[in-house]
Symmetry: C2
Subunit: 519 residues, 2 copies
């Protein structure tokens, strides 16, 4: 047991070794997505589950969801739903029949198959912050619009940290790139700087098709191979309350038809876009997600779908969104219960309202990450790097969050709680007796290198030692580490022919004008 | 339901109102110790519980614990234990018979009966940081020895915050007070500045007797009234591995004989004073605690006892203690399972290794506070204000921690997850439909003042608003709040005759020379 553990933690796998090649700034835990061994925290009794389910179904049956997508309306009409203009009402039998077709577990295989992720069951996966328009770091010292270099640096962190298991959306929007070609440049950066599971924004057919093609090329795949199993995914939000916009549905339909995975995440802020009561906000969120998943299952039965939750609340004094609050934690747990009721994998997030990587940022983020643990979340979006309610990406926050994520990864290793005779250690206790210590004994010597979590950012020196080392607070330590990681970063290997094919594709599509920007 | 909630959250109770009188720097939640409605996280299966229990019992049966207390040795000999020098071995039948006499729930009634606490069951109670020799605040900007003013200021925070339910040990050691009279001055300060449940250090008979007498006087109690039910408590640590020192046992016996409560908290750092394996460290901790509790139950059957855990690990590179680690969380959860097995209330702590109130301090503290939730902890020691592994007390950290504690308090309010028709809110969703928002509707208006947690320290403004307000990071905001609270603090009311009696007692005992300092 101890030996296996040693190999696992220190040796890394092929994936772990590859990720750290030539870039050993820190001694991190190897690639090893945690298995959530805890029983979920379930605030709802059976009658609570039934009440929320019934609420979600009655929203779909009696109120309906608007689909601003003609194709979806035609499909749902054919499926027997009641269509009035853009409004779609669907019966619970249909919804439940369709949702039951979605797999409870599936894989996404990126260009590095050692970074294949399994989504569902008890696996927890962490992704980088996605989509902030702005950037903050300690050197710049203020909030600034994102650019390509910032985006590339955050992608390097995404690749560098083995506790980041999938590459979400753009870790910051590079607004220096024209919107018509931004997806081409960023995907080129993502596919060359990282080798983890990829994401496409559902923002118009050209972007979605371009990204699928680039992921196919990067994987060295035929079209048949690409479509045979998920190689990437998209994530869409509904437009709460009770609307699905054209491009999101369009993108999902395109991915579904090519066998790729879909995450549907309503963004229901209680008191603003959803009821002020959390169970009502959860019911509405479920209704918005389930009707879309039903559509995708009707189009392509068995297509992998994940149900997302982003139910938080607003500050009723200012209308500002709040994150990582007690209400956020409970709504995430409630949605987790409902996701298990529907047999769907769950996505939640690592979130905060704080504007800088300070104490508040950490308690809000810790609350949301513990909510992910407690809810049985499978995909944790924005798990590293998010500030200001998702409006700012920060490399310091990214690195601080990775320390928390690694601790969750270690927390989920069952050997911590092993209770065999070697762990109860009666003979070691007898040998030390009443008057010694355990530092030097064989039982300790045999285990000390792997017995405990080793942090890379936490400073466990006493005050005097910490002071001598500069008296540096956490965020600044993270900043120094950020610079070191970026300076020594080596991209994961890519076949030169593939890299050229990707570059040619980008050049050709740019020459064609990229994608429309009329969204 | 909503009405009750409104009254509860906004009105406070008499205790809440009293605590805030004339000192409304912040709008805090009223006194209302949380009821832990979550099912505990239980990493051990039944065979794991049995293995740890068997390990603890075999330590007591085969290895024995040293009691450096002649009186205890005599009592335990009389009870049938096997005594060899200071070493005591006791059979599991005796231990289990004695431990079974301890109540699973009891109360401590301080001088303000509105601040009576119930310890055990599902109640969670938070206490201030206890016993750091040093102090740090942002104005001083470095670690300095504690003094009486600092101690008084931290006591004011202890009283001010309604989420602090009991007054632990000295929130910082006032080393400017001579050790012979320190307990007299600090208890005078504690009893006049706070009206919450009191603690006595078990550091020699004079101190313990003096503190009991002062608590009795402050409560306006006869000796019979004082002894009729717990009015205070002591907390002792064993000297791991496997030793109990004279003054701790002596103090406990004195309190037990006068009907006061006892917390026994071994401090077993895995890899140093306990096995490097967490279940071994937990088994040893249990053995050290249970033998003392067995002694106290033999002396005074039914005396309230709490089992404490302080099982963490050392950094095996430096020997430095680590806190709030994955191993700490799991050992706290395991000890929680064992405490329920033994039918004893549980104490754990809010802890960190960080030297300043930064991001690391918050993730370590959050981890330990979530561990308290998950373990079913009843008393959370050091819940506010602890830094550097307990060597530093900080007012900024105190206030930051109170924000986290309040969130746990709110998290435990079952109404967040209510699922009645009013909460599912189908009619509100119907009324808003696909194209509105929930800000203005009646369903929101009826509930918005109490629907969500309102922070006092978290800043939910957007970046620009935060910047205009000074761009102040969390710890500095806490510092400003600290100054305001101290400047406007009003002590809880105390009958002038009682205050004089207390002062006279202090003067008399000082004239007598106080307590010996040869410990």
């Amino acid at each position: 047991m101890a030996d296996t553990n040693t190999r696992k933690r220190r040796g890394g796998g092929r994936a772990g070794a590859a990720a750290r090649r030539g870039a050993a700034v820190i001694d991190q835990m190897p690639w090893n997505p945690p298995i959530n061994i805890d029983r979920p925290t379930e605030p709802l009794g059976p009658e609570g589950v039934e009440a929320i389910h019934d609420g979600a179904m009655r929203i779909l049956e009696e109120i309906g969801i608007e689909f601003y997508n003609q194709e979806a309306l035609e499909i749902l009409r054919e499926a027997g739903c009641i269509i009035n203009g853009d409004n779609v009402r669907m019966g619970r039998d249909f919804v439940m029949e369709m949702v039951a077709k979605a797999p409870s577990t599936f894989t996404i295989t990126p260009r590095n198959p050692n970074h294949t992720i399994e989504i569902g069951g008890k696996t927890m996966l962490f992704g980088n912050v996605s989509s902030p328009p702005n950037y903050w770091d300690m050197e710049i010292g203020k909030k600034v619009p994102g650019n390509r270099e910032m985006c590339r640096n955050l992608l390097k962190l995404t690749q560098y940290f083995d506790c980041i298991h999938f590459a979400g959306g753009y870790p910051v929007e590079p607004v220096d790139l024209h919107a018509s070609v931004r997806h081409l440049d960023v995907l080129y950066d993502k596919l060359t700087l990282t080798d983890k599971a990829m994401h496409a924004y559902s923002l118009g057919k050209e972007r979605v098709e371009d990204v699928m093609e680039m992921v196919r090329i990067a994987g060295g795949l035929s079209h048949e191979e690409f479509e045979a199993s998920p190689r990437m995914y998209t994530n869409i939000n509904s437009t709460s309350p009770l609307k699905h916009d054209h491009p999101m549905i369009d993108g999902c339909l395109r991915l579904a038809r090519r066998g790729q995975a879909i995450v549907v995440t309503p963004f229901t802020l209680a008191g603003a876009m959803a009821p002020v009561t959390m169970s009502g906000a959860v019911a509405q969120s479920l209704a918005e997600a389930l009707c879309a998943i039903a559509l995708f299952q009707y189009v392509r039965p068995g297509i992998p779908c994940v149900i997302g939750t982003f139910t938080s609340n607003v500050d009723m004094k200012s209308g500002a969104p709040a994150f990582g609050t007690p209400e956020y934690i409970r709504s995430t747990q409630m949605t987790g219960q409902m996701a298990r009721f529907y047999g769907l994998p769950l996505r939640s997030s690592g979130v905060c309202a704080a504007n800088v990587p300070d104490g508040q940022a950490v308690w809000e983020t810790s609350n949301s990450l513990w909510a992910a643990v407690q809810s049985g979340t499978n995909m944790v979006y924005h798990a590293a790097g998010w500030l200001e309610g998702g409006l700012i990406a920060s490399p310091e926050k990214f690195i601080m969050d990775c320390e928390i994520l690694q601790q969750i990864q270690r927390y989920m290793q069952p050997e911590i709680c092993a209770t065999g005779p070697d762990e109860i250690a009666l003979e070691a206790i007898r040998a030390v007796g009443n008057d010694g210590h355990f530092f030097g004994i064989q039982h300790t010597q045999d285990r000390y290198t792997t017995a405990f979590y080793q942090p890379f950012l936490s400073d466990w020196k006493n005050y005097e030692g910490w002071e001598v080392a500069g008296g540096i607070w956490t965020a600044e330590r993270a900043h120094l580490m950020f610079k070191e990681i970026i300076n020594s970063f080596e991209a994961p290997p890519m076949d030169e022919a593939i890299r050229e094919e990707l570059a040619d594709f980008v050049a050709r599509r740019k020459a064609e004008g990229g994608a429309p920007t009329d969204f």
